[in-house]
Symmetry: C2
Subunit: 338 residues, 2 copies
């Protein structure tokens, strides 16, 4: 974040997922075992391809949220394990289809599944993982949880189509962008948190508080993801810088820079993102324009605001180590930009 | 069917879906209304693309089966409507992804969705329809039905990946082919029938009888579909002849012709289907080789056998107009080849 307005937090106080992982580490091991078990199939291409993406790193942030929220709700049984695995499978299925749609060559620093096995296999194995997620949530045996996850799945798919509809359209405004983010990313975060309150049998107010926490956390997470795509730190995350630019994706940094730009700059964004007529040096020019208009700062300010809202959403819950860890997750989602 | 061993049935006695459609026509109208309602979305691309495929014809065979089996089971409530719509949405989502995987240009005689809107939109709208199917079945409120449909979805996706794994492999045997057919096609037929017995609260024996009926009917249906791909009647169905050949798909007619062929013929199948090195006149040669070895006859004999097994599976049910209509469906699935 070369142009950050606030100094990066002291390395010693940087928020991490460590506390969260320590608190629910045993549960996460069970989730990981279940994930490996349910990826199995006599059709060898399935565990090969699914294993590549499931094992290929990833923070397991969404299942961690399900596990931690279950703990926060005082849940002591076992249904959250299958649900956390189910949430991760939904996420993984989405990644596989996203990579096909985005024609991505890399995913978490590794060759993407569509590069290695082709688009066809990625589409079908994505379908398989989505079906498996569905089986896992049925096993958890709660119709209310099923309703939440079914609706979340529809909203996610709708958000993906919406994103496709506005792709390469530089007239896209902040509202349309945020609607996509709320649908395609935040809704799964929200569901991942909320279902824990449901299996724990907590009152609706707590369900809704966790839903809000997940929603705002998810928006913050995606905003930062979109900033990172234009950030030099990106390479450390194993992604190439400027993927979104090359695809002509309209994200908040672009929306801000475009809105604040003059006629020549607007023409630049149209040429590069709408017409996808990109030349040597265009990515550098995009970064210069974003710096001039403090577009990444602006996007980060939005992200911080959502992270703060996520923290506030946890107010109904009494202080505890797991609540502290969930508060830290909100900071982590923003500060991982540094 | 130029080389049929049995004469085509008299036109006057040809089996149709008419009786079935007449018996459950009112229910089907409700299903169609629900389908249109649930395709709706503020994201205009969704109803556009989904409407194209859902409205684009199709016999609604799978939802008809759910409705008819509910009637057969004496069910008098309304949950079968949402379930029938759900089954059709699963089927439609599969078609959208199939067309992407097969790179099909036509579907039921119309330009396929991927041709009109691109692969990306087809993948994502397929995901949306699958999510919608999931919402509909949750509304029906039976965990047992959800379990059946979730498992069916996994098996279908597994069958699709299996089909991809053996595509272009002329060493594929009848067993592997039938396993694909049972998974990718027959399992949804089976689930479509079985869930009606579940919502009707019928004993497990009836559930299993309907599952068997659906399985065998589905296998017969797919076998005939694969024969039709090499049949002149195909054009009447709005499909191009030889699609499977051009894609190098290994279906029963190919397996039979290849197994009965000499060295030169085996080399022909390898060149055309494995290497996809296809020249002018190759499709005609394929048809000649199939005629020589009576490969389409053999596949049709298999289909008749499965259709008869489907008929037998209904023996536990007392005679009734709806049972007669379901028996006729089995004949229809085979005789539509003529």
């Amino acid at each position: 974040m070369p142009e950050a307005t606030q100094p990066a937090p002291d390395a010693e106080h940087r928020p991490t997922l460590d506390a969260l992982q320590a608190l629910v580490g045993e549960d996460l091991k069970e989730v990981n075992r279940l994930i490996v078990e349910r990826m199995a199939s006599p059709v060898v291409l399935i565990p090969q391809l699914a294993g590549h993406i499931v094992a290929g790193g990833g923070k397991r942030l969404r299942p961690l949220l399900t596990l931690a929220c279950a703990r926060l709700c005082g849940y002591t049984e076992k249904r959250h394990i299958a649900l956390a695995a189910s949430v991760e499978f939904i996420h993984t299925a989405t990644l596989l289809h996203d990579d096909v749609v985005d024609e991505s060559e890399l995913r978490r620093g590794l060759a993407s599944a569509n590069t290695l096995w082709g688009n066809k296999a990625s589409v079908l194995v994505g379908d398989f993982l989505f079906s498996r997620s569905f089986e896992l949530m049925v096993e958890a045996g709660s119709l209310k949880v099923l309703e939440i996850l079914a609706q979340a799945s529809s909203v996610i798919a709708q958000g993906e189509v919406m994103q496709l509809s506005i792709s390469n359209d530089t007239a896209t405004g902040e509202d349309a962008y945020l609607e996509v983010v709320r649908s395609k990313t935040a809704r799964l975060f929200a569901a991942a948190c909320r279902i824990s309150a449901v299996v724990a049998g907590r009152p609706e107010a707590e369900e809704l508080a966790l839903d809000s926490y997940g929603t705002d956390l998810g928006v913050a997470f995606q905003l930062v993801d979109d900033v990172l795509d234009y950030s030099a730190n990106q390479r450390e995350l194993g992604k190439t810088v400027g993927d979104d630019f090359r695809e002509g994706k309209i994200t908040l940094p672009v929306i801000v820079a475009n809105a604040r730009g003059d006629g020549a700059e607007k023409a630049f964004w149209r040429r590069t993102l709408e017409d996808l007529d990109q030349r040597e040096g265009d990515l550098d020019e995009a970064l210069r324009l974003m710096a001039r208009h403090r577009a990444l700062d602006e996007a980060m300010a939005h992200a911080r605001c959502y992270a703060e809202r996520a923290r506030q959403a946890l107010r109904p819950f009494p202080e505890s180590p797991v609540k502290a860890a969930l508060l830290e997750v909100a900071d982590f989602c923003v500060e991982r930009a540094y």
